[in-house]
Amino acid sequence: MTKEYLEMLAKKLMFEMNDSEYETLLKEFDITLKQMELIGKIKGIEKVSPMTYPFDLELDDSCMREDKEENEITFEDMEVNVKDFEDRQVKLPKVVE
């Protein structure tokens, strides 16, 4: 594990971190990787199916929504969070320079 690798990840995640933050993070990685190494040694773990949900989903017809159009957000609701708009259209940052 290197600081450079972590910098690459932070860049992908779209934020910057300072040197002392990287220092703490490197120590945390030492611990995390050491702990995970022990998990890797659990006999037969490679044969276990990964669990992504607490229990089997109970999906039947009653869990399906009616296919009806709903539009809950009005412009008036939305504008409280909008910094800049013109003629009921939200101004977004320029994408193409």
Binding site: L6, L9, A10, K12, L13, M14, F15, E16, M17, E21, T24, L25, K27, E28, F29, D30, I31, T32, K34, Q35, M36, L38, I39, G40, I42, I45, E46, V48, S49, P50, M51, T52, Y53, P54, F55, L57, E58, L59, S62, C63, R65, E72, I73, D77, M78, V80, N81, K83, L92, P93, K94, V95, E97
Partner: protein
């Protein structure tokens, strides 16, 4: 009056001795009075919602954790990146409470984005413990816990991804309940780790928790992970006979050689507690869970929760969500917004989450953590064939002093301090109730049961609460 139990408050309301407005005013007055000292709230409301219905909760004030959507009311998740966010819709849990006539009086402080266990990382400052201001409240539902413990409200709503309701409940001497995964709709809860996230209730008795759960549970078309409706009221099963029920505790987590007096006293308190449970006719046995699995709990939780959190919070960029910081182009805006919007702890967790999801690391890290999760849940389900529930000390220590509190990872295997997230792994209903005092600070006992058997967990906890003698406990500093 807001420091009393729901039945007492209801009686006074129904007799006309007090009004809902009186209760709201009292809760708001206390909230302001304690705010500088304890910092329970991000927002204290000044106007009462008016819903005229007739339910057990109608007219009764309560608080919501600030990661639950409330249309038109600031909802920050205690993060700078959402410091100005005003939701466009109501969370289902808030809608149900509103429809039942319960009166929202404030939004409570949490650890930033619910990702912490100390109550010290919210953007508006640390939450202090009502029993001792030098000590932390624990988190992440810190403000919800302190608002109940201080007697500001009779109940508050929290969320729980690893132990975020049940740990601060123990530190605050109150009851904290996380029901079965999917029992309460999460529509409108800001996601932290979706496969582990639960909503739940904090109050001063098991009965009060049950009143609230009966109102907020149920299937929701807006949350496909919510469970189907069940034809049962938990409140009606609180007094069921528990004679002959069987519980286990994890021997290999409790057999600790330690010179730590606090830990010894907590373990002694636990053994006294189970003796009282046995006198109720409940059989309690010790079980070896398997040290390998116990040691896998915390690292697996860390890896899974960080991975899910990284993904869930990728929309906080300043473009669709988040307080935007201007820049010369879209990338610059996102970079600045996220750099300034997230605290150090959050960034570290996101980097860990991203690392474990990288193609080259996924197998050894994310997938192995998810495999360990299955082994732990399988072991629990195997034990649940013989036993009705797990009983354990809720925490391994009392609320730590602020200079002891840390959200940095430790390489100590604090099994006793991390077992609560087993219930998040398997979606098991799990409750903490107060069981006494160590070092003049409250401690709690936890009961975890089979998935979808919420009524039984509440029933067992209610019976135990009756003999422990801490029902209605409040640290009234007025």
């Amino acid at each position: 009056m807001t420091d009393r139990l729901i039945d007492d408050i209801r009686k006074e309301l129904d007799s006309g001795k007090i009004t809902s407005q009186d209760l709201f005013d009292e809760a708001v007055r206390k909230a302001h009075k304690y705010q500088d000292e304890y910092n329970s709230f991000v927002t204290i409301l000044d106007k009462k919602e008016e819903v005229k219905v007739d339910t057990i909760l109608s007219g009764i004030p309560y608080a919501l954790k600030d990661n639950i959507s409330t249309k038109g009311i600031l909802t920050t998740a205690s993060s700078n990146i959402l410091k100005d966010y005003i939701p466009l819709y109501d969370a289902t849990i808030y809608k149900k409470l509103k429809e039942a006539g319960a009166v929202l009086m404030g939004k409570t402080v949490l650890d930033e984005l619910a990702m912490g266990g100390t109550g010290t990382t919210g953007h508006t400052g640390v939450v202090k413990n009502p029993w001792n201001k030098e000590r932390m409240m624990g988190g992440s539902s810190a403000g919800s816990a302190s608002s109940v413990a201080l007697g500001i409200v009779p109940f508050a709503i929290g969320s729980d991804t690893g132990d975020s309701i049940r740990k601060p409940a123990a530190y605050g001497g109150i009851v904290g309940y996380k029901p079965t995964y999917g029992r309460i709709s999460r529509y409108g809860l800001f996601a932290f780790a979706s496969s582990l996230d639960h909503l739940g209730v904090m109050a001063r008795s098991v009965k009060d928790v049950s009143y609230v759960i009966d109102i907020v549970k149920g299937h929701d078309d807006k949350d496909m992970t919510s469970l189907p409706d069940e034809d049962i009221k938990y409140i009606e099963h609180l007094d069921d006979n528990i004679k002959g029920r069987k519980l286990f505790y994890i021997k290999d987590a409790l057999e600790i050689e330690t010179s730590n007096d606090e830990l010894k006293e907590i373990i002694d308190n636990f053994y006294l507690t189970i003796e009282k449970m046995k006198k109720l006719g409940v059989e309690i046995e010790e079980v070896n869970f398997g040290k390998e699995l116990l040691e896998a709990i915390y690292p697996s939780y860390n890896v899974i929760s960080c991975a899910e959190a990284t993904s869930n919070n990728s929309n906080l960029t300043g473009i669709p969500f988040g307080s935007r910081i201007d820049g010369k182009n879209v990338n610059d805006i996102m970079m600045k917004t996220r750099t300034e919007g997230f605290s150090e702890l959050i960034k570290r967790r996101f980097v860990i989450g991203s690392y474990v999801l990288q193609k080259e690391n996924q197998e050894k890290l994310f997938l192995n953590a998810s495999r360990a999760r299955r082994l732990i849940v399988n072991r629990m389900n195997e034990l649940f064939k013989e036993y009705d529930g797990l009983i354990m000390p809720a925490t391994e220590k009392v609320a730590p002093l602020f200079d002891e509190a840390s959200d940095k990872l430790s390489d100590e295997y604090l099994i006793l301090g991390n077992h609560l997230c087993i219930a998040n792994f398997g979606g098991f209903p799990s409750i903490t109730i107060p069981s006494g005092f160590v070092k003049d600070m409250p401690v709690g006992v936890n009961i975890t049961g089979r998935a979808k058997e919420d009524y039984l967990v509440l029933n067992l906890a209610n019976k135990l609460e009756e003999v422990l003698g801490y029902k209605g406990q409040v640290k009234n500093n007025e």
